[in-house]
């Protein structure tokens, strides 16, 4: 919903002002996307979720505020409502071999995803990625018509984990609700 008037706007503007320059820099590549502007929805992955080499018997966790977290950006009609959901795997596979992966809340790392309408990972709001996120694209003209999501996870290789490259698939769905 658009806040058109009142002190709330001033407060929000004041809070967001220092971050605007950061977002501008980080999303410079999307400047022209926003030329397409009002009618396009762009969903992009800026960083993959890559656990790299893991040690058998030692769980490996990437938090959503880590530099290694998966990073996504949406550009769309300013103030448009978008519902974002993830379909997440329970295991990674290498041929017939599997390795558990979890996106559930972790006692140490906390919730495994976070979101913010600007590119400010350290200030993002954490949430559980298996739940739906109903948000609005930042109510600013292009190229500031953004929304960012970061996602982490935890893999738990077994002590005798068979060597290999274990992969799985994450599906991110963005729906314009029209509301």
């Amino acid at each position: 919903m658009g806040y058109r008037r009142g002190r709330t706007w001033l407060l929000v503007s004041a809070l967001l002002a220092p971050a605007a320059a950061v977002a501008q820099t980080a999303t410079a590549s999307f400047a022209a996307t926003t030329v397409v502007n009002n009618t396009a929805l762009v969903i992009g992955q800026l960083n993959g979720l890559d656990f790299g080499i893991v040690l058998p018997g030692t769980p490996s966790t990437i938090g959503p505020k880590s530099a290694l977290a998966g990073k996504f950006v949406l550009h769309g009609q300013k103030n448009a409502e978008v519902r974002i959901t993830f379909t997440l795997p329970a295991v990674l596979q290498a041929g017939a071999n599997v390795m558990p992966i979890s996106f559930a809340d972790d006692p140490v790392a906390g919730k495994m995803a976070c979101h913010r309408n600007q590119d400010q990972q350290t200030n993002c709001t954490t949430y559980t990625p298996s739940t739906a996120l109903l948000v609005r694209i930042r109510n600013n003209p292009p190229p500031q018509n953004t929304f960012y999501v970061w996602i982490g996870g935890k893999v738990s290789p077994a002590v005798g984990q068979v060597p290999g490259t274990y992969t799985g698939q994450v599906t991110m769905t963005a729906v314009y609700t029209g509301n």
Partner: protein, 282 residues
């Protein structure tokens, strides 16, 4: 502006977007889908969607159509109800609109026009018929470090973008039945419940405008939100009350068919709805 010129201009914008993106920082995977709402009519029976691969890697994109519409859950939150096999009472167009091509591999920066062709059943009654267009893209790259003798782990990503499609035949009309309008203070927020159904044979697309006025009639807060009513909804809104002094207030609601995000030529006219409720802010 003539349709062909609009399409040409739109297409040029897409090309510019793709070119600039290609020159920017690396985007591992990205797909642009435009427009975000497609309108077709019974005279032309055609439509189109533009796809652009805005990443630096090839992308495989598939297009599917499925019946669906915005609905609300018990918490007043919106979601898209997708129905694989809608019954005959549902105005589904998903079964008789086809996308060409349904699958494409797009090189970095490449754009693809997906043409939509409707073959509606004979004797289709006048009205509006709905579907959702699902564009699914998969990158060729898996985020993982290869390990010949060790163990490595990474994830591949699939991106799904879902947009609306409306097909109109003959006389179409719409309107809004306001079934619920309540407001109360909860902590530092104003919580509003908005319930509505639609009239006529087409979805109601419009905008909700709220004004919070004090006892002297001065407006202390204004908010607005697009609204789409396909089937009855019960929506919960939360607005901040920071800076609003305690006292007696009136919350005024106006629902009109103005939409800033859609071409007004695609918006069906309807009578505006106005309502007001009173509340205390403590």
């Amino acid at each position: 502006m003539p349709l062909t010129r609009r399409i040409r201009r739109f297409s040029s914008s897409l090309a510019l977007a793709a070119a600039t993106l290609a020159a920017g920082p690396l985007v591992l995977q990205a797909i642009l889908v435009a427009p975000h709402a497609v309108f077709m009519d019974h005279r032309s029976r055609t439509g189109q969607v533009f796809l652009v691969n805005t990443s630096a890697e090839p992308e495989e994109v598939t297009i599917d159509l499925k019946y669906g519409y915005p609905a609300t859950d018990s918490a007043g939150t919106v979601y898209i109800r997708l129905i694989d096999q809608p019954d005959s009472t549902e105005p589904s167009a998903a079964g008789w609109i086809r996308a060409y091509p349904r699958r494409a591999v797009l090189a970095p920066g490449q754009r693809q026009v997906v043409r939509l062709l409707a073959t509606p059943p004979a004797g289709l009654p006048d009205g509006e018929y709905w579907s959702r267009i699902i564009a699914t893209s998969r990158g060729s790259r898996v985020a993982v470090v290869n390990a010949d003798s060790g163990v490595s782990a990474g994830l591949a990503l699939e991106l799904r973008t879902i947009i609306s499609l409306s097909y109109r035949k003959g006389q179409v009309h719409t309107g809004l039945d306001l079934t619920d309008f309540r407001a109360s203070q909860e902590g530092d927020s104003l919580v509003v419940w908005f319930g509505a159904g639609r009239q006529g044979n087409a979805a109601f697309l419009g905008t909700l405008s709220y004004q919070l006025a004090d006892a002297d009639g001065h407006v202390r807060g204004e908010w607005e939100s697009p609204i789409a009513v396909y089937h009855p909804i019960s929506r919960r809104y939360v607005f901040p009350l920071a800076g609003v002094a305690p006292g007696h207030y009136t919350l005024r609601l106006s629902v009109t068919t103005a939409r800033s995000d859609l071409d007004q030529r695609n918006i069906l006219p309807a009578e505006p709805v106005h309502r007001a409720v009173e509340l205390e802010i403590r």
